[in-house]
């Protein structure tokens, strides 16, 4: 048997190709970096993170983390991150709730409820989130009446000065007490939750559909009511399909929260934009942003993978 020529030997070719790709990549990266270095020196800039300790000097509309204008840029960015986490946290819970209800409702025996659930999913999924956000903010929340004519819903008051939960009272023409959400946060949450829940509803629907019909019938013959069947028999089994699907929806929600910048809510991206403009540190701020969002996604993935293991263990 004669030896193969080298170009027919797939192992050798493989290594050659890799070497070439590696070299090419190195070349590109080196070129980009040298350009970067060159351009930065020209402009008299240096990559550093020292500015993070400088006083920021700007205020942020609302922060969970105590923050004042005299605090550092680092703390301002942290306050922005906490604001992002707040939206993502509340958004995840509400969107999951609404999504599960809408997903389950598409299996209802009542045609009205079924139709409503399908219409909701089909309408909301096919309209861009950013459009929905600016609609909620500019066309709905900014047109609310002033505080003394606030819209009254059970446990909820809507006015131009904010959305008040749990019984705010009118004192001197202003609403006080209760739990106040700013209009920006309220609009962002409304838009994000309604949009994400439509996708979650589809995931839930797929999960429930994957449970064999026999399970429903068996539960029924045991005398369980439909809602109890859903809760005790179907959902626990559907979870195995639902949880992996939820993972990517949750990551989408976290990333989509950055659209807050379009409606004036001071999330991480908005604070980063202010910071980078006041400091001129475009590259550093961009790298920080990427790292934080990747970390956030990673956290969600790890949590969801843990949950996935939990639900699949139950099976055995």
């Amino acid at each position: 048997m004669t030896a193969l020529p080298w170009w027919r030997d797939s192992r050798k070719v493989g290594w050659l190709v890799q070497a070439a790709v590696g070299l090419g990549l190195l070349l590109v990266v080196a070129l980009l970096l040298s350009n970067l270095e060159h351009n930065l020196t020209r402009a008299g800039l240096r990559l550093t993170l020292g500015w993070l300790n400088q006083p920021a000097g700007f205020d942020i509309a609302e922060t969970l983390l105590p923050y004042r204008a005299s605090d550092s840029y680092g703390r301002a960015l942290l306050a922005g991150l906490v604001n992002t986490l707040r939206v993502v946290g509340i958004g995840l819970v509400l969107a999951t709730g609404l999504g599960v209800v809408a997903g389950a409702a598409s299996f209802s025996t009542n045609p009205l409820l079924r139709g409503l659930s399908r219409t909701y999913v089909e309408v909301v999924r096919n309209i861009p989130l950013l459009l929905q956000l600016v609609f909620w903010y500019f066309a709905v929340f900014l047109t609310l009446p002033p505080a003394n004519q606030a819209l009254q819903l059970p446990g909820l008051q809507l006015a131009k000065s904010g959305v008040y939960l749990l019984g705010a009272r009118l004192v001197n023409g202003e609403l006080v007490g209760g739990w106040r959400l700013s209009l920006e946060l309220a609009a962002l949450l409304t838009g994000l939750v309604i949009y994400s829940a439509a996708f979650i509803a589809e995931v839930v629907r797929g999960g429930i559909a994957s449970v064999p019909k026999g399970q429903w019938e068996a539960a029924e013959s045991l005398g369980l009511k439909p809602l109890a069947t859903l809760r005790l028999v179907v959902l626990p089994q559907a979870l195995r399909v639902i949880v992996p699907g939820l993972n990517s929806q949750y990551i989408s929600l976290a990333k989509n929260s950055s659209l807050a910048v379009a409606i004036g809510y001071p999330d991480l991206y908005a604070v980063a934009e202010t910071t980078l403009n006041q400091t001129g540190r475009g590259i550093e701020v961009f790298l920080l942003l990427m790292a934080v969002y990747l970390g956030l996604d990673l956290c969600i993935s790890v949590l969801m993978n843990g949950l996935e293991r939990l639900v699949s263990l139950k099976d055995r």
């Binding site: 980009l32 351009n39 020209r42």
Partner: protein
């Protein structure tokens, strides 16, 4: 799976080398001889606001007009003898400096306030041209609110644009006077004023000239008023990147030329006569130097000898630019105030052309 590997590898490879070839062009940073690069390109790229009446906005024909635009037009006239050889790029306040530093635009002419940290190489690393509009920060409120002083804004919401000196001054002034307030910040002026008009905030703050300019476009301008307080000094001017004195010197003296022309009484209407007069009278040394009839002032800047007549003929002197865009001949009718020539007690002053 072995068979999957080779074809995509080859394709990826080609792609990467293609990219490498693109990136390996001439070694020239955004600052390296920018002036030469602009001349070679044949157009000037200018970053503007684009939505601010009086400073830079599109008129009904879609043409950009305003003081900030005239800065770009003047430089283009000096370079190419054609004020229209400018590519405008609209920038938000929060992206403007990054766009300039990364070489997106040659000149940033977007009502930017000169501050130490923006100028210093340890800060934003920018190079400020002479101030073309001395301004101060103001606060606008609806007349109906009955608010007449800053103190009355305690506990209220104030709208402002993201990434401006305005938000910093606002924080400083209200902190000094211990007035609590909530800032709501938007990415663009459009959103800021829309939110203000929809009643999201009790007041909106910005440069006084900008507030006055925006007010003229409100549905009912008389329903809004500027508080008497001036929160800060806002010297506005165009900007270039640091370490490129070729471009920044040219821009600086193009602007001084418009100011000197006003001091010398040269306007777009009489420039031809003045030029003829200078050519005919060898004794008019100052005028002859200024208009490029003798000496090599233009050459020293890397500009044509007749750059001053080109500028004045196409955009006029500083006084003409002011009154056409924001002064008596415009809708805004802003008083010249500090922006009078030093001869009339203002701050507009050109160093000598010699």
């Amino acid at each position: 799976m072995r068979s999957f590997s080779r074809t995509p590898a080859a394709l990826l490879l080609g792609l990467l080398f293609g990219l490498g070839g693109c990136a390996g062009g001439q070694d020239q940073g955004p600052g390296a001889g920018r002036l030469a690069a602009i001349k070679a390109r044949g157009t000037l790229s200018c970053g503007v606001d684009g939505k601010l009446p009086g400073f830079s906005y599109q008129d009904s024909d879609g043409k950009y007009v305003g003081i900030d635009v005239d800065v770009c037009r003047a430089l283009a006239a000096a370079l190419f003898n054609d004020p229209n050889k400018v590519e405008y790029r609209e920038l938000t306040s929060s992206e403007r400096f990054t766009a300039l530093a990364s070489g997106e635009v040659d000149v940033l002419s977007r009502n930017s306030t000169r501050t130490l940290s923006r100028d210093a190489s340890g800060g934003n690393g920018l190079e400020f041209a002479p101030t073309i509009y001395y301004d101060g920060q103001g606060v606008m409120v609806p007349v109906a609110s009955g608010i007449t002083s800053l103190k009355q804004l305690a506990g209220k919401t104030i709208c402002t644009e993201n990434g401006t000196t305005t938000e910093l001054n606002l924080a400083d002034r209200f902190r000094e006077q211990a007035i609590p307030y909530t800032p709501v910040k938007y990415q663009t002026g459009d959103q800021t004023y829309a939110a203000y008009l929809q009643g999201r905030c009790a007041a909106v703050t910005s440069d006084r000239s900008q507030l006055a300019a925006k007010k003229t476009s409100f549905p009912d301008p008389a329903a809004h008023t500027l508080l008497p307080d001036v929160l800060s000094k806002e010297p506005l001017g165009p900007v270039t990147v640091n370490n490129d004195s070729g471009l920044s010197d040219a821009l600086r003296w193009v602007l001084f030329a418009t100011m000197q022309a006003e001091e010398s009484g040269i306007t777009s209407k009489n420039i031809k006569e003045k030029l003829a007069f200078a050519k005919a009278n060898p004794n008019q040394a100052d005028l002859r130097r200024f208009l490029g009839v003798e000496g090599e002032l233009g050459q020293q800047l890397g500009l044509p000898a007749d750059f001053v007549p080109r500028i004045i003929a196409s955009v006029g002197n500083y006084g003409e630019i002011y009154s056409r865009n924001v002064g008596s001949e415009s809708k805004l009718k802003l008083d010249r105030g500090l922006n009078r020539s030093y001869k009339d007690g203002g701050l507009i002053y050109s160093p000598p052309f010699r």
